[in-house]
Symmetry: C2
């Protein structure tokens, strides 16, 4: 057999839809700092604090005991039970049989997309948004429609708002999935319970799945719940029924200081669990047992650990935000949730150029808003998760120097 | 707005293409043994031996040092260098810049599919085959064409053979990906260098990608290489050029006794590396640093560890196969690679029923051949990776009892 010879010098490429996915603009800024040890980094979404020792020790004990074999696709029963008990302290109880353990929150979101999205399906995403979520939908061949949060250009200090009626009008029976991340990375915007109720009712009518990335649930500074109740942002789990088309995604990364462990979970309708179990087999097969043991230990530390982490994050927020707000040319709203300050600088329209300039000239590492979509252009994201809030004060000094103030 | 109300009682479902993926028939057999501790299991593809202590200790040391943060999408530079050096001991040198570290071999294969396969693309898979590979292609919306290895029904003891001319004819310019797993799970079939050369030349002409799952490369009992050279099955890496459309997938699971760690890698054309880096970000972001440190330690043990593992596997093979071959009604070929005996029992056409009966009546846990596609129906797979070969002898006693011999 003979076939036409491929053009000489033709370089092998991934498929166009993957080649066309934007690379991380955050890494592009971080790469500009390679080889320098004098840059203060606030670009990635993680604390500079290692995982608490008892959690690390639980993994080491599991390793010492030889727990190095394959495990259940959906996670160790003991971890699923512990997660269910933890969730029951925050929301109406969800049985362990509805919990799937994943290799990180991002893995949970990818598996959810694989479960739900056929090529050509319509996915509506509320943006600006952590770029992985929309990229996953594109990898599955979805048509992504972006629905933008609004920031009043005259009063950005008022923060980002959802045009609820506009979003409801954008979701039709042709919409397979609504993608939401609230508390939101990068803006700090959160959904309130009334908005969630309206969205849930509407999506019940249209048959649309809600994929809710609620990984910042515990990093919430908004109106409180009942006195003495653990702090948590409003959640679709407070409203949903088991058979709703609702997937809620969680992670150990943020509130348990476990970013590098790659451990997360999702809460599923019972009927979706078998399909997700299969997909987990085809993606990573399982999370390592010793990592899952660490998750059990983290949940065992419970509210003491979460309260310490979120208390620190509140202190960080309350250190950084007034300093930013008092900086000339800077416009910023105090976020109600999440661990980011999202701000604008008067006269700076190109966030990537500004972020690179701040690295080069001021030794300050921030994420450019355009990393979260065109809707974030002109903004910068500052992750304020820090062991030592004085790091944030030094960062603001560098920002002022970088802006020539 | 009003929309037609979804039919009452309609249960939320995954998309049809995912609901339609077969669940694991191996787990179906294993589930039949739940609650019993008297079953001798040989159904899963892993040894009963834990990871060597120095490897576990390397992970524990990394945890103690607080290495609990996000890492590079493509893997730690030190691990990529160590893998490149390891591969250079087996094949023509491959630079570390062509290595991507993944969360297990299965994760590498899923990411490769995401990089290469558009909805509707044709994927040709040589079968019987580990079912995850074809499932991944289906999740991406590919049309999977199965090309069956042949076993002479009169002489199954001669093993499985590839009709090379038939496979070449099946691969046309319309074929986006050729999926191969050799040494093969479940049959033990291996490719020889001449077949690889013919396939590579043909796929260069058709513009077809070869995705080669070579995770059993070191578990090879076939004709040797140069005297004193480390044992390895023939590999596409012995033949390929950097710009070939070739992705070779590897894992720490089998030859380093690290199944539960979820650590693997792939060797890529340089031009594909950026796209794969993005996809890793969107799938699991990175492998945990402490897991990667364990990988570095495993490679540091080097040929001593691999020789011990593969020597044990050879002993296991040479224990089990003669016993199976001497068992009345059993027809089996001695595998040239991999860690499985794949055999038929005269008069037993339904492998799932037979496997369940052997669990129930003989306390013997085997994998049904139909788990690997219809082409495996009528066969059983026995994983012979065992710390103690006497376990295999006891298994054969149970098989004989189960068959009423």
């Amino acid at each position: 057999m003979t076939f036409p010879t491929p053009a000489p010098g033709r370089v092998p490429r991934a498929r166009d839809s993957v080649e066309g996915l934007p690379g991380s603009r955050i890494r592009e800024v971080a790469n500009a700092a390679l080889g320098r040890d004098d840059v203060l980094p606030f670009w990635f979404g993680e604390s500079d604090e290692p995982t608490p020792a008892p959690v690390r020790e639980a993994a080491a004990a599991s390793l010492a005991a030889g727990e190095t074999f394959y495990s259940h696709n959906l996670g160790l029963p003991a971890l699923r039970e512990a997660i269910a008990a933890y969730m029951a302290g925050l929301h109406p109880a969800v049985g362990a049989e509805r919990i799937a353990v994943t290799s990180g929150g991002v893995n949970a979101l990818m598996v959810a997309m694989q479960a739900l999205v056929d090529p050509g399906d319509e996915v509506v995403a509320v943006v600006p948004l952590w770029p992985n979520l929309t990229a996953q939908a594109q990898i599955l061949g979805a048509r992504v429609r972006r629905f933008a949060l609004r920031s009043d250009s005259d009063r950005p200090q008022d923060g980002w708002r959802l045009d609820l009626d506009g979003l409801l009008a954008a979701i039709t029976p042709a919409t397979r999935v609504l993608l939401l991340n609230a508390p939101n990375n990068p803006t700090g915007w959160t959904l309130d319970a009334q908005q969630q109720a309206a969205l849930l009712a509407h999506c019940r009518a249209t048959g649309t799945w809600i994929v809710a990335d609620e990984v910042y649930e515990r990093v919430y500074f908004g109106p409180g719940r009942a006195v003495g109740a653990p702090v948590a942002a409003p959640s679709f789990l407070d409203l949903g029924a088991p058979d709703d088309r609702l997937v809620v995604v969680h992670s150990f990364s943020k509130s348990f200081l476990m970013t590098g462990w790659r451990l997360g979970w999702m809460v599923l309708p019972p009927a979706l669990v078998p399909a997700v179990g299969k997909l987990l087999e085809f993606n990573t097969s399982c999370a390592p047992v010793f990592v899952q043991r660490a998750g059990i230990a983290a949940l065992g530390l419970g509210e003491a650990l979460v309260a310490e982490v979120t208390g620190r994050l509140r202190l960080c927020r309350d250190t950084l935000l007034p300093l930013l707000a008092a900086t000339p040319r800077v416009q910023v709203a105090t976020p109600a949730g999440g661990m980011y300050a999202f701000f604008r600088v008067d006269g700076e329209a190109d966030s990537l150029a500004l972020a690179k300039r701040l690295v080069a000239e001021a030794g300050l590492g921030l994420a450019p808003g355009v990393a979260f979509g065109d809707e974030g252009e002109g903004w910068l994201r500052w992750c304020f998760a820090s062991r030592d809030p004085a790091r944030l004060e030094e960062g603001v000094r560098r920002l002022r120097a970088g802006l020539g103030l």
